[in-house]
Amino acid sequence: ATNVSDAIVKLGVLTDMSGTYSDLSGPGAVEATKMAVEDFIAKEKPDFKIEVISADHQNKADISANKAREWIDTAKVDAIVDLVTTSTALAVMKVANEKNRVSLVNGAGSTPITNEQCNDTTVHWAYDTYALPVGTARAVVKQGGKSWYFITADYAFGHSLEKNTSDVVTKSGGKVLGSVRHPFPGSDFSSFLLSAQASGAQVIGLANAGADTINSIKQAKEFGITPKQSLAGLLMFISDVHSLGLDATQGMYLTTGFYWDRNDETRAWSKRYFERMKRMPTMVQAGDYSAVYHYLKAIKAAGTDEAKAVMAKMREMPVNDFFAKNGKVRVDGRMVHDMYLAQVKKPSESKYPWDYYHIREVIPGDEAYIPLSESKCPLVKK
């Protein structure tokens, strides 16, 4: 029999259940985790029990650090899942590492998670703030969007989105004309949009997220900025497109780690998810499923739930499921997999609910993520 502590593997989904990010992860993340567990039990018939608990960290680092500690100390949680928003993810990763537990980060996107702040018990799954903008920028410049202007959330993630994108734009032969930083959260973006308009840039890069991105897009249309200038959402999820509608978003480019309607496999899984949540999954929610499933497989293979051993197995086994083909977990914790450049359909092109994207390009995993050679992660031996 496997050497799993108490013969139970306990997963704690720590996410934003009600705040800004609750649509892109939140209750959907919990559901996806449960699906992964159910599927795993049905298919692999493990000899250990698996339990899922969840909590709302309210996007506060102290609450999530406290919850993670408590879960590990008293509820015997083996892995913490999702972790949306970077500050909470970083806080939990540290705690989990100290106590030798695994963090499966999906919601948060900052690159430091697998870079400066990486550790040997953290896996970062669906996307990061390098992969998304880089994919989009490269493609957009290639399509002729040479001059860029950024509307950036005045926060670390905004800054890093802007910087990562600018680098790619210049490297691909484009030009950055300027940027404007707005306080977070904002609600009226028309001033910033006017500045962007005045710059005459072909492309306005939205280095912000959630409601800020949504309002920027909505107001860009109102002020007649789109479609004359085009927008590039650097951190956009299908939930954002859904709530804005195709009328406002049509033609936008964005990069995603997962699209439900990409192939039969993704469709099959997503339809099951849809039945439970009445929404299609975001890449975060799909990533939660994939990460959890892979984690459980690694436990089975390792015969233990001890974090280091499981991590070793996770790195060793390739990820092959509806989410990723031949994905692999690198030494810095990044799960490298293909990303997809999507363009939002025109309303007339959309045939059925949630039919939102054309997948224009597949970005190979090796190009999508920061190469290990540039990594600042101490675990990477050079």
């Binding site: 707005h182 306080p183 005045a198 949504i214 109102e222």
Partner: protein
């Protein structure tokens, strides 16, 4: 021509946008000022009621097929009625107490309302289309002014100054102001103060809902749209002078402009500039720009 490196045309555009935002501030802070003025309650639920207004419009359109123009009238009435219910059942018991209790209660209400909407509609919210009659815009040369925004400015100015006229220039207004100070005595003079208070709260809330309907086509309609705004609107009310009707209107518009300018010159600070101004104003004029010193 440039001013500090900014083309004057762009500056004009930014000022105009500032004015547009100012109209939202004005109409929201007007409601808050009226409520504070008469009920002595700092209505923390104002943001949530504003959000209810916006959702009201969306629900009207999507579920009931009521268009924007109907919503503009019907939603404030409905939300105002909800406000009156809140006043009758809860706020009524707090008038003799410190402001703090009203604040706490309305804060609790805001949490409940927001939580319920969040549960039902999710966080990303919904999009409300600009009404057909007002879609498109005017090309002013220096900028493209969406018709809808122009309408927002016009209608809020009318509503704000209309309310001001009623409150400051009519007998009703002197009842309202007297009621603020000593409601008991006013009642002893034969005025039905409880009814007046209920109606006033209803009116203040209706203003919030009205702003919500106005905002629906501009901003994403989501459950937290109000709570992000409320603290700024408080600042506006305080700068104008708590309870001062004119103060809240003028300050609302003025701060919209100031914020617009900050967005040009130091955009990062545009959220904090209002608080800087609030601090300075209060240090120099403790009762606010238009407030009466005691």
């Amino acid at each position: 021509m440039d001013i500090f490196g900014i083309p004057i045309q762009a500056l004009m555009g930014q000022l105009l946008i500032g004015l547009i935002n100012g109209s939202f501030y004005a109409i929201l802070s007007l409601g808050l000022a009226i409520i504070f003025g008469l009920l002595n309650i700092i209505n923390f639920a104002h943001g949530a009621l504003y959000m209810m207004g916006a959702f009201g419009a969306w629900i009207g359109l999507t579920w009931l097929g009521l268009n924007y123009w109907v919503a503009l009238v019907a939603v404030p009435v409905v939300v105002g009625a909800v406000g009156m219910l809140i006043e009758r059942t809860m706020l009524k018991h707090l008038y003799k107490l410190d402001h703090l209790y009203g604040l706490l209660l309305t804060f609790g209400l805001a949490l409940i309302i927001e939580g319920l909407f969040r549960y039902r509609f999710g966080i990303s919210g919904e999009s409300y289309p600009v009404p057909e009659l007002l879609s498109g815009g005017f090309n002013l040369g220096f900028m493209f002014l969406p018709k809808y925004r122009a309408w927002v400015v016009a209608v809020s100015l009318v509503v704000c100054f209309g309310s001001w006229f009623v409150i400051e220039r009519t007998k009703l207004g002197s009842y309202l102001r007297a009621g603020t100070e000593n409601a008991q005595l006013l009642q002893a003079f034969g005025i039905n103060v409880p009814l007046m208070i209920t109606l006033t709260y209803g009116f203040g809330v209706a203003l919030a809902a009205f702003a919500g309907v106005l905002a629906a086509p501009v901003f994403q309609v989501n459950p937290v749209m109000g709570s992000n705004l409320i603290i700024v609107v408080f600042a506006v009310v305080v700068i104008g002078g708590m309870g001062s009707i004119m103060g809240s209107i003028v300050t609302g518009l003025g701060l919209g402009l100031v914020e617009g300018l900050t967005r040009v010159f130091y955009p990062e600070a545009s959220a904090v500039v209002i608080f800087v101004i609030m601090g300075i104003v209060l240090l120099l004029r403790p009762a606010g720009l238009f407030g009466r010193e005691r």
